[in-house]
Amino acid sequence: MNKGKLEEIWMTVSIGVLVIFMVIVGYQTFALGMGPPSNKEVIDPQKVDETAPFDNPGLSNSGNNKYELVMTLEAFAFTPGNIEVPVGAEVEFTMTSKDVSHGVQIPGTNLNAMVLPGHIQKITQTFNEPGEYLVLCNEYCGAGHQAMFTTIIVK
C-alpha cells in the first residue's frame, strides 16, 4: 500500500475514534445527566453569613432518604463538619466560599467540584456503602490547606 492510502486510513480511523468518543461523552452528559458540576447562581462573597441559605448551614432531610447539605468553605474549614447520614442517602451539596478558591473532593467517590468565591456550586452524591468518608479541599487555599478536611459518616 502506498503512503497516501495508509495515511488516509490512519486519519479516518483516528478521527472516527475521536468522534465516537465525543458522542459517548455527549450522551452521558445530556441524556444520562452525568455532566460536571456547573451551577450558575451567584452570591456576594463578603456577605455569605448573611445570605440565605448560607446564614444557616447544615444538613436537612427533604424526605425519601434525600438530604440537602448547605456548606460554607473557608481557609481552612468546612462548615458544618463531621456529618452523619444513613446508608443510601442521596445528598445534594450546596456550597460557596467565604474567601479564596477551594475544591471539594471525596476520595472513593466521583464527587469533585471547584468552589469559588462569589459562586454557588451544587453537586449530588448517593452514599450506598457505609463507612467514614474523607471530605478534603483539593485546591490550594493557603498555608493550612492540608489541614482543611472533614468527614461524612454513613451508617
Binding site: L18, V25, G35, P45, V100, S101, Q105, M114, G118
Partner: protein, 557 residues
C-alpha cells in the same frame, strides 16, 4: 567552514549558526540549565516532604517551594531553552539574524531576567506563595506581578524580533517558501504572543487590585484568562519539541523528513487550535454552563488531530530509515535505529512517551473523566510525562549536538555515553514517579498538598506507599538533573575543540512543491483569533454580565 546544501538544493556559503547568534543561544542555555538545577533541587525537596521523609527548615513551607519549582521550571527553564534553540534554528536557516533583531533579543533577555529576579525574590521572601496559577483572590506582593509583566515583555521583544526577521527574509526571497525550521520558529512565536495576551490582561487586572486602587476582582474572569495562557504555554513546548522530531531526528537516523506540506499543516493547526484547550482546566468550575463545557471538550480534542498526523509521519520516517538500513520483518527496522546515539535515543523516548501522555490528556479533557481526576496527583503525573519527558527529553537530546555546535567543540563518544546513561536514568525516574502519581491520583490523592494523613484517615493512608515511590523517582531525577547540567556545561566550556554537525534532514525525493499559501501568517493569526472568539466570547461575556460582587485581596499564607 563546511559547505552545506540547503532545502532548495542551493549551496550555502557557510554552515551553522552565526557566532554572534551562538552567544545569544549559549546565554539562554546557561540561564536555562542553572534554573533546571535549582528547580530540580526544589522538586526533590517536595518529593521527600510529600512522602514524610524530610521536613523543611523553619520559615519555609511546601507551598513556597512549590511556587518556585513551578515558576522556575515551567516559565524559566523551558522558555529560555526554547528561545535559545529556536533562535539558533532561525540563525541557521537565515544565515544569521538581522543586527536589529539581535538587539531586540538581548533586550528580551535582560527584561526576562529582571522579571525572574523580581518574581522569584518575592517567593523566596514568602510574599508570593500563590503557585504557578496565582488564582485571585489569593494576593501576592505587587512586585510578584510586576515581575510577570517584565517576563511577558521579554517574551514579546523576542517574538517581535522573530516576526521582523521572518518578514525580512520573505521579502528578500519572494518566490521561495521559508526553510522548515524557520517556519516552526514563526509558529512558536506567533502562538507565544497570542497565548501571553490572556495572562497580560489578567495581570493588568490584578496589579491595581493588589495596590488597592480598585477594591474587588472578578475571580472567574481572571481564572479563565490564566488558562488561556497557562495551558497554551505547555503546548508551545510541545510544538518546539515536534520541530526536532520532524526535522532533526530523521537526519540523525540517516533518513529524510516527511512531506513538508503535512508538517506545515500540523504547525498551522497546532497554532490556530491551541488556546481554547485551556478551558478543560475549568470543567468542574461553577459559572460555565454544561453546553459550553461540552463545546470545549470538542475544541480541546481537536488538538489531538495534528498530533495523530505527527504519530503517522514519525513512524513512517522511522520505519523507512530502518528498512533502508536492512531491517526486515514487521519490527526488524526498529533494531536498525541508532539506539546508542543520545541525539536519537532521547527524542525517541520522548516521542514514545507522548502516546500515554496524549491518551492521558484525552482523559483530562473529557467532562466525566475529568471529574474523577481533577486536582489529584493524576494531573501531576500527566504533566511530568508530557512536559517532563516528551518535551524535556527532546530538549536534553538537542543539547548533545546544538551546544557543541555553538561552542565549536565536539560531542565525544564518552559524552555520548554519559548522555545515554542520563536518558535512561531520566526515563526510569519519570516512569516510576509519573506512573505512581497517576495511580495515586486515581484513588484520590490530591495534588498541591503538603504532607498530611488527614488525621490518619484510611483513604490517606492508602496513598502513602505511592508517595514513597514518588520520592524514589524524584531522587533518580535529581541524579539525572546533575548529570545533564554537568554535560551541558562541559560541552559549553571544556569539551575538545572541533566541529559538530547541525543535523537538518532533507525532504524525500519526489515531494510535491511546498504550497506558498502556508506562508500567510496574517491569515493564520485571523483564524486563531476567530477560534479564540468562538471559544471565549460567550463564556467571558456571561462571566462579566452575570458577575457576583467581586472579591477583595486575601492572603492566607
Amino acid at each position: 567552514m563546511e559547505q552545506a546544501i540547503d532545502f532548495k538544493g542551493r549551496i550555502k556559503s557557510k554552515l551553522g549558526v552565526n557566532p554572534q547568534d551562538a552567544t545569544i543561544s549559549l546565554t539562554y542555555f546557561t540561564i536555562s540549565f542553572a534554573t533546571l538545577l535549582i528547580g530540580g533541587i526544589l522538586g526533590l525537596i517536595q518529593g521527600l516532604e510529600r512522602a514524610g521523609l524530610y521536613q523543611l527548615p523553619a520559615g519555609f513551607n511546601y507551598y513556597q517551594v512549590l511556587s518556585a519549582h513551578g515558576l522556575l521550571l515551567l516559565v524559566v527553564f523551558t522558555a529560555t531553552f526554547t528561545m535559545g534553540y529556536q533562535l539558533a534554528n532561525l540563525s541557521h536557516s537565515f544565515d544569521g539574524l538581522l543586527p536589529k533583531v539581535r538587539k531586540m533579543v538581548w533586550i528580551g533577555i535582560v527584561l526576562k531576567l529582571i522579571g525572574v529576579v523580581l518574581s522569584v525574590t518575592t517567593i523566596v521572601l514568602g510574599e508570593a506563595s500563590v503557585l504557578y496559577t496565582f488564582y485571585p483572590p489569593l494576593a501576592a506582593h505587587p512586585i510578584f506581578y510586576v515581575g510577570l509583566v517584565f517576563l511577558v515583555l521579554g517574551i514579546w521583544a523576542v517574538s517581535f524580533g522573530v516576526m521582523i526577521n521572518y518578514r525580512y527574509w520573505r521579502k528578500q526571497h519572494p518566490s521561495q517558501t521559508t526553510p522548515i525550521l524557520a517556519f516552526f520558529a514563526m509558529g512558536v512565536f506567533v502562538l507565544w504572543f497570542f497565548a501571553s495576551l490572556g495572562v497580560t490582561i489578567e495581570v493588568f487586572m490584578i496589579i491595581p487590585w493588589v495596590l488597592g486602587w480598585i477594591e474587588t476582582i472578578n475571580v472567574m474572569v481572571t481564572r479563565t484568562l490564566f488558562w488561556w495562557f497557562g495551558h497554551t504555554l505547555v503546548n508551545i513546548w510541545y510544538l518546539v519539541a515536534t520541530s526536532a522530531w520532524y526535522v532533526i531526528v530523521p537526519k540523525i537516523i540517516g533518513g529524510k523528513h516527511f512531506n513538508e506540506k503535512l508538517i506545515r499543516l500540523v504547525i498551522i493547526l497546532l497554532v490556530v487550535l491551541n488556546i481554547p484547550g485551556g478551558f478543560h482546566h475549568q470543567i468542574i468550575d461553577p459559572a460555565i454552563s454544561i453546553s459550553i463545557k461540552f463545546l470545549h471538550v470538542f475544541m480541546s480534542l481537536s488538538i489531538a488531530v495534528p498530533s495523530l498526523m505527527t504519530a503517522f509521519a514519525m513512524f513512517y520516517v522511522l520505519e523507512k530509515a530502518g528498512r533502508n538500513k536492512g531491517g526486515k520483518g514487521l519490527f526488524g527496522w526498529l533494531k536498525k535505529l541508532p539506539w546508542g546515539d543520545v541525539r536519537f535515543l532521547a527524542p525517541m523516548i520522548a516521542m514514545i512517551s507522548f502516546i500515554p501522555g496524549g491518551a492521558g490528556g484525552i482523559v483530562n479533557t473529557s467532562n466525566q473523566m475529568n471529574q474523577v481526576i481533577h486536582n489529584t496527583m493524576w494531573v501531576v503525573g500527566h504533566f511530568h510525562i508530557t512536559v517532563g519527558v516528551s518535551v524535556v527529553l527532546t530538549f536534553f537530546g538537542i543539547c548533545y549536538w546544538l551546544i557543541p555546535h555553538l561552542s565549536k567543540r565536539q560531542l565525544t563518544p564518552r559524552m555520548n555515553k554519559i548522555g545515554v546513561i542520563q536518558t535512561w536514568i531520566w526515563t526510569i525516574g519519570m516512569a516510576i514517579m509519573a506512573g505512581s502519581m497517576h495511580l495515586a491520583g486515581l484513588i484520590g490523592d490530591p495534588r498541591r498538598t503538603s504532607d498530611t494523613t488527614y488525621a490518619g484517615h484510611e483513604s490517606a493512608l492508602s496513598w502513602l506507599p505511592y508517595e514513597f515511590v514518588f520520592a524514589t523517582g524524584a531522587t533518580l531525577l535529581m541524579i539525572g538533573v546533575i548529570i545533564q547540567v554537568y554535560a551541558v556545561f562541559n560541552m559549553m566550556f571544556f569539551a575538545p575543540k572541533g566541529t559538530t554537525e547541525f543535523p537538518v534532514a532533507e525532504p524525500e525525493e519526489d515531494q510535491p512543491k511546498v504550497p506558498m499559501w502556508t506562508e500567510r501568517w496574517g491569515l493564520w493569526a485571523i483564524v486563531l483569533l476567530a477560534v479564540v472568539a468562538m471559544a471565549y466570547v460567550i463564556p467571558i461575556v456571561d462571566m462579566i454580565v452575570n458577575a457576583p460582587p467581586g472579591s477583595p485581596p486575601i492572603r492566607t499564607w
